[in-house]
């Protein structure tokens, strides 16, 4: 019986070995050979050849045909030093019928010694793997989706009824950066529904209170605080660079202003509103679907648009609606599922009914029927019937 090292030496004599320089030149020429790393997961994650596929040798027979389905195509395998890849090449040649398979001599160690480039993939830390393990298990999110969440920048307009649950759950989900715009301080009457705040933070600015709550759940989230009221002078600057905006605003003028600015910046807005026992929800994705003005060309007069402060709201309702918003945010970031664009969802808590209505793009929309560069500063949030518009302020 041959020893292990004798076996490897014999097998190397039966397969083709190529020098790292040859592989490097092949890559430079871009001739399309498939390069496969046969090392273990943790080795691959540390660094690998740029563009290499990963099939651990232990899974070679069951997985390599998925990665390299064309058996007539040139396949180059490598490992750390060239032994495992030689054995794998032998298996692929003799048992799987690959016609043009080779093993890279000296493996990635020799590749690096030659000074050739390696790719260091981004990955989760051990703590992140544990924290987001339930996300990693669902294929619609997985590692790729979690990375997208960690890279994402989400702006919450309002840290009140809708913004509170959104802030907490989006932080928990690992959204990397959460911006919060709110110029209010925590009031005792907020605590019936605004769960990001607490009894001992009454009188504290809501942006500071929300930051504390966010970091208690997930200290990795970067919080960007804007303790101001959103207006025409600051909206373009504040929303700049965010991937998704969560509209939990409490008045019409700012909702129209936000709409116009988000269309100009082409940032999707997940919008919800609440009153009494009823909520509305939709996603306004500029130029891909309708905008807020397509749905509501004109705000209602004040007597038809009471605020929660004036008319009351069930405390749990913004929890439901704010979390439906959060789900839409995560879908937009990860690309999972069908976003609620072009649809308006009505939730009636008393009857426990959900009603879905169609929302069409208005070809004559004063804002989104035009090119973003054509929309001027003066038009933003403006309205022909300005008196009625201002009367709609909550």
């Amino acid at each position: 019986m041959a020893s292990g090292s004798e076996l490897i030496r014999r097998i190397k004599g039966q397969i083709e070995e190529v020098d790292p320089k040859e592989v490097h030149d092949l890559r430079e020429r871009g001739n399309g050979a498939v390069i496969v790393d046969v090392r273990e997961q943790h080795e691959f994650e540390e660094s690998h050849l740029p563009g290499a596929l990963h099939v651990p040798r232990g899974h070679l027979e069951s997985r390599v045909e998925g990665s390299a389905p064309d058996k007539s195509k040139r396949v180059i395998l490598y490992c750390a030093s060239g032994n495992r890849s030689a054995l794998a090449a032998h298996t692929m040649k003799e048992l799987l019928g690959y016609e043009d398979v080779a093993s890279m001599r000296g493996g990635i160690t020799l590749w690096k010694d030659r000074g050739y480039e390696v790719e260091v993939p981004r990955t989760l830390t051990a703590e992140q793997r544990e924290r987001y393990s339930r996300h990693l298990l669902i294929p619609e999110i997985g590692l790729e989706g979690q990375m997208k969440l960690l890279d994402a920048r989400v702006l919450l307009l309002g840290a009140g009824g809708l913004g509170s649950p959104a802030a907490l759950y989006l932080a928990a989900a690992g959204v990397g950066t959460l911006g919060i715009v709110d110029n209010d301080v925590v009031d005792l009457s907020n605590l019936q529904r605004q769960v990001a705040h607490s009894n001992d933070r009454i009188g504290v600015p809501k942006v500071d209170s929300a930051e504390i709550a966010i970091h208690e759940i997930n200290p990795d989230v970067k919080v960007e605080k804007y303790g101001v009221r959103l207006d025409a002078s600051n909206v373009m600057e504040i929303i700049d660079g965010y991937d998704v905006i969560v509209d939990g605003l409490d008045n019409f003028p700012t909702r129209y202003l936000l709409n116009d600015a988000s269309v100009r910046k082409q940032i999707p807005v997940v919008s919800a509103s609440i009153l009494g026992f009823e909520g509305q929800l939709s996603v306004f994705h500029p130029y891909e679907g309708p905008c807020y003005r397509c749905l509501y060309p004109t705000p209602p007069p004040a007597d038809l648009a009471p605020s929660c402060g004036a008319a009351g709201v069930l405390g749990v309702l913004p929890g439901v609606m704010g979390l439906l918003q959060s789900v839409e945010v995560i879908k937009l970031i990860t690309g999972a599922g069908e976003p609620l664009a072009g649809r308006l969802l009505l939730y009636d808590a008393l009857g426990t009914t959900f009603t879905e209505l169609k929302v069409r793009r208005d070809p004559d929309c004063p804002i989104c029927s035009r090119d973003p560069s054509e929309i001027s500063d003066e038009e933003m949030g403006a309205f022909p019937d300005y008196e009625a518009f201002c009367a709609g302020a909550g």
Binding site: S273, Y296, T355, A388
Partner: protein, 90 residues
């Protein structure tokens, strides 16, 4: 008869009902019938020129009547008409 869903802000004008049955062959007739049963809704639904107020959205089943035939949109028995005002609470 069609069923008209009444939004919260209009319920005090119809005695608190969430839905009202009203007759008519088109959306305009049904809403006029609603307004004659409950006069307090008239000024909230219709503008002075008799058209629908611009801030009131009306849906026949799940479609906005603006993309159908507006107030002339034909209504069949059993259809649901939804009156939808914008809300801004957050």
């Amino acid at each position: 008869m069609s069923t008209v869903k009444i939004p919260p802000v209009l319920r005090s004008s119809v005695g608190g009902a969430k839905e009202v049955e009203a007759g008519g062959d088109n959306v305009g007739e049904v809403l006029r019938s609603l307004a004659s049963q409950h006069p307090a809704t008239e000024s909230q639904l219709f503008s002075e020129d008799g058209g629908l107020n611009r801030y009131v959205n009306v849906y026949l089943n799940d479609e906005d009547v603006r993309v159908l035939d507006g107030l002339d949109t034909e209504v069949r028995s059993g259809d649901m008409i939804v009156i939808l005002p914008a809300m801004a609470g957050g």
